[in-house]
């Protein structure tokens, strides 16, 4: 009797343990809570883009459809020959700038349904705040285009239609810091968010370690100023992900400091 009981306990506990083990051996994804965002009129494009990027990949829930390319157009990679969303958004609706189009596409998603896709996108105002929506707009603009969202857009009185009819003149973003140390500049501009340097950063784009031995200083400079011109070998799938904002975001001195620093990494 005792033996039978022990065997039964063994089968029950073993089965439960197996299921627990299997569930813990797969990728672990937690559903994050959207963070409250509140931007002032002096918010920079980099801040908006960084916040939008976080929302896009987590609490905004965007990747559930836009990251797969089956339910909704992929926004981060090229759609045919049009380029990523930041490069094509300005041409979607005549008379509407990129940010106007993107903002309206989030609050009235079915008005701009892309051919071949079902009207499944919800009005994002149901789950995101106005500031969060604008952060997403900035992030999407940065995907192959120029970030034109400003604090004035976000804090404009009125919502919806009033905001979408705003002047679409691009406002250059200022430098994120007045640092001169290249490493500090790289960190302040979130470069290490996608490039690894001495173990720091995420391996989304080419690593910075030894980059000076692979490419010239001119190539590095051009890649920073015009990131969509050419994708590094092995990273073609992520062409267009790097935002084209650094020409406006870095001072000439900061740019040269960074270029020289990277060129010397061999």
């Amino acid at each position: 009797m005792l033996t039978e009981n022990l065997k039964i306990i063994g089968v029950v506990v073993g089965t439960i343990g197996l299921f627990t083990l299997v569930a813990n051996s797969i990728p672990q994804v937690q559903s994050e809570v959207p963070q409250d965002l509140s931007f002032g009129t002096d918010v920079t494009a980099a801040e908006l883009t960084a916040s939008g990027g976080l929302l896009f990949g987590s609490a905004g829930g965007c990747t559930a459809c836009h990251g797969l390319g089956t339910r909704a157009p992929n926004l981060l990679t090229s759609n045919g020959s049009e380029g990523p969303i930041g490069a094509r958004c300005g041409d979607r609706v005549t008379g509407e700038s990129c940010k106007e189009y993107l903002y309206r596409a989030m609050i009235e998603p079915n008005v701009f349904l892309v051919e071949g896709y079902s009207p499944i996108m919800p009005d994002m105002r149901r789950s995101l705040s106005n500031d969060q929506i604008w952060a997403l707009v900035a992030y999407l603009e940065a995907q192959g285009g120029e970030v034109t969202v400003t604090g004035a857009d976000i804090n404009q009185e009125g919502e919806g239609e009033a905001q979408t009819t705003m002047a679409a003149a691009p406002v250059p973003a200022g430098p994120t810091s007045d640092a001169t140390d290249p490493l500090e500049i790289l960190r302040a501009n979130a470069c290490l968010g996608c490039h690894v340097l001495s173990g720091e950063g995420a391996p989304i784009g080419p690593g910075f370690d030894g980059i000076g031995g692979r490419v010239s200083a001119d190539y590095i400079r051009e890649s920073i100023l015009k990131p969509s011109v050419a994708a590094a070998e092995g990273y073609e799938a992520f062409a267009g992900l790097m935002p084209a904002i650094y020409a406006n975001q870095l001072t000439a001195g900061q740019l040269e400091n960074v270029v020289m620093f990277l060129a010397e990494l061999r």
Binding site: A23, S31, S127, N130, I204
Partner: protein
């Protein structure tokens, strides 16, 4: 005025102060009617001020505490709702078929029910108290909307309890003639009360998933229309899904109970009885399991209809890996269920002629599980996408889509049904003159259904998604039609059939009984997993897009963490259920010893 949630700083919900405070019915009625016409300003004036929104539970935190309480309560509730359904059917088989062993079986089912019932109530009370103390804001919000249904719930629970006591304790007293019919009616009533109780509780939890479209964060709970909140979009799909799932779960737990009694049995008679009981439990569980995916499909479709984003979060968002785990669990269920049937054929004279086919059925089941468990729409970061060479794995992507998965699961259902059919036919030799034709027609139905399933599975790759979704309906209908058609032919074909020999009940190898334990554990764990899926798709909302979770536990945890909590719930459930079944066994022994003593005394007196 209390603020339940304000993610954007603009969304505020006002709670009414006067919910549940009335002293007598007329006042309640007057207030209830008046509150429907009260202006929001008036409601605001009456709203609560300074009420804390969340409590904290020591060691494990509020979320785990409420999670465990809800899950264990639900497991016991599923058992006490599922078992009466087949107890009353078994009693009816005993009445109409004149076979008293079914009546005995029904009574034994009900005895298990009786001992589990109090545990259900205790865990229900624990859940309520934890809700009140740990989530007082949400509790007040829900009571404001559902207070009337909560009173009705209590009444029905009262009726259910006393009907159960009458049903069980009156079993031997009302066992013949018209009294037996009255007793059977009590069994039906027990099911009606139980189902009504479940429907009411389901309305509360489904409201949290799918509140009516006109309810917004600014809607005061007292202004929410009761019936539209009660009969919300996912209410009926959940009702149907739970009814079937309760039967599956009840059958599996009864099977495990019988397996335990089989393994510790001391006499052949006892072993034969519990072998048969285990077979019935497995039959009920597997039979209901076959139709459960269709109910799940209906529920999933309604979730998508209610809110595409919620549906996508469930199937392709952060929960996408959950369905791979679900496929693994269901694979275990199909394999264990079929294994039990195949081993069981060893005690059936004539079954040896079918045994060679089992290896082919095993191949179909294993391949089906592999396809079903193939990932498709995963959230992948850029590094993972680069490693795969694209958003879809080049080799596995083709098997991870719904066309392949639907085809696999339908073929697995057909295979399991074939196992059952062979088991059923094993010791019978049909005597009707159309037996050969009937068998050929049955075979043709299987082939036709398989062809339809495979055809639409392959065709699905060449049509748009909106067309492809419709194909799954044709596949399901083909399988259902085959099951109904084949079993109908079989019933008529086996009328008056010769027996190839009696089933040798009790002559089962012990390993078959462990398969029943695995089935019970897997069903229980699966219920926990699906509970997490249903609740987790609300993400950081207590009530979807209406009441936001602003507690420190608002983020929905990853599957690994959830698995640990689910495993704890399953262990708690099995520990408690073992204990109360052991208690039930003690009572049975006591009754038997008393009966033996009375018989011995009577015998002695007769001699003297």
């Amino acid at each position: 005025m209390a603020t339940l949630a304000a993610a954007t700083g603009k969304r505020k919900i006002k709670l009414n102060q006067n919910c549940g405070r009335s002293l007598f019915w007329p006042a309640l009625a007057v207030f209830g009617i008046a509150s429907q016409f009260a202006s929001p300003d008036l409601l605001l004036a009456q709203s609560l001020e300074g009420v804390r929104q969340y409590g904290e539970f020591p060691l494990v935190g509020s979320r785990v505490a409420i999670w465990v309480a809800a899950q264990v309560h639900l497991l016991f509730a599923a058992f006490v709702l599922g078992v009466p359904m087949f107890a009353v059917v078994a009693e009816a088989v005993g009445i109409f078929g004149g076979d008293s062993k079914y009546d005995k079986l029904a009574k034994e089912f009900t005895r298990l029910l009786l001992v589990a019932y109090s545990a259900t109530a205790i865990w229900g009370a624990i859940l309520s108290f934890l809700l009140v103390t740990l989530y007082p804001g949400l509790w007040l919000y829900l009571t404001e909307i559902f207070q009337v249904s909560m009173w009705i719930y209590v009444c029905l629970f009262f009726f259910e309890s006393f009907t159960l006591y009458l049903y069980y304790y009156g079993w031997d007293l009302w066992n013949t003639g018209r009294a037996k019919w009255v007793h059977w009616t009590l069994g039906i009533l027990l099911n009606i009360w139980g189902t009504a109780v479940m429907f009411i509780a389901n309305s509360w939890l489904t409201y949290m998933m799918s509140p009516p479209a006109d309810v917004t964060p600014d809607t005061a709970p007292g202004m929410v229309q009761f019936w539209s909140a009660f009969a919300n979009a996912t209410w009926m799909p959940i009702n149907i899904h739970r009814i079937i799932a309760n039967v599956v779960f009840g059958g599996a737990i009864v099977g495990a109970y019988a397996a335990y009694r089989f393994l510790v049995a001391r006499t052949d008679e006892e072993r034969a009885h519990y072998d048969w009981m285990g077979y019935i439990g497995n039959l009920i569980a597997m039979g209901a399991l076959i139709i459960l995916p269709f109910a799940g499909y209906y529920l999933g479709r309604e979730i998508y209809e209610f809110n595409q984003q919620m549906g996508i979060t469930m199937m392709g968002g952060f929960m996408s890996w959950l369905w791979i785990i679900q496929a693994f669990l269901i694979g275990v269920l199909f394999l264990a269920g079929n294994y039990y049937l195949w081993v069981g054929m060893g005690r059936i004279p004539g079954a040896e002629r079918f045994m060679p086919y089992t290896k082919y059925m095993l191949v179909v089941l294993v391949l089906g599980v592999m396809v079903w468990a193939t990932p498709n729409t995963m959230i992948a970061d850029r590094e993972e996408i680069a490693a795969m060479g694209g958003t879809h794995h080049p080799f596995l992507g083709v098997l991870g889509v719904m066309s392949a998965k639907n085809t696999a699961v339908n073929l697995m259902i057909l295979t399991t049904f074939l196992s059952f059919l062979l088991y059923r036919r094993a010791n019978s030799r049909p005597t009707v003159d159309w037996a050969r034709t009937g068998t050929i027609v049955q075979g043709a139905l299987f082939v036709l259904a398989s062809l339809i399933v495979v055809f639409y599975g392959v065709y699905g790759y060449f049509v748009p998604a909106i067309v492809r979704i419709g194909f799954s309906v044709y596949q399901v209908l083909a399988v259902l039609a085959t099951i109904i058609g084949v079993i109908t032919i079989d019933v008529f074909m086996l009328r008056g059939a010769e027996s190839r020999g009696d089933i040798r009940w009790g002559q089962m190898p012990p390993r078959s009984q462990y398969a029943l334990f695995i089935l019970a554990v897997t069903f229980t764990w699966l219920m926990g997993l699906m509970g997490f899926a249903r609740s987790g798709i609300r993400q950081h909302w207590h009530v979807w897009e209406v009441v936001r979770d602003t507690s420190e536990y608002a983020a929905t945890p990853a599957l690994g963490y959830a698995a640990i909590v689910i495993s704890c719930c399953v262990l708690i459930f099995f520990t408690l259920v073992s204990f109360i079944f052991w208690l039930g066994g003690l009572a049975e022994k006591g009754t038997k010893a008393s009966a033996d003593s009375v018989a011995a005394t009577s015998s002695t007196q007769g001699v003297s």
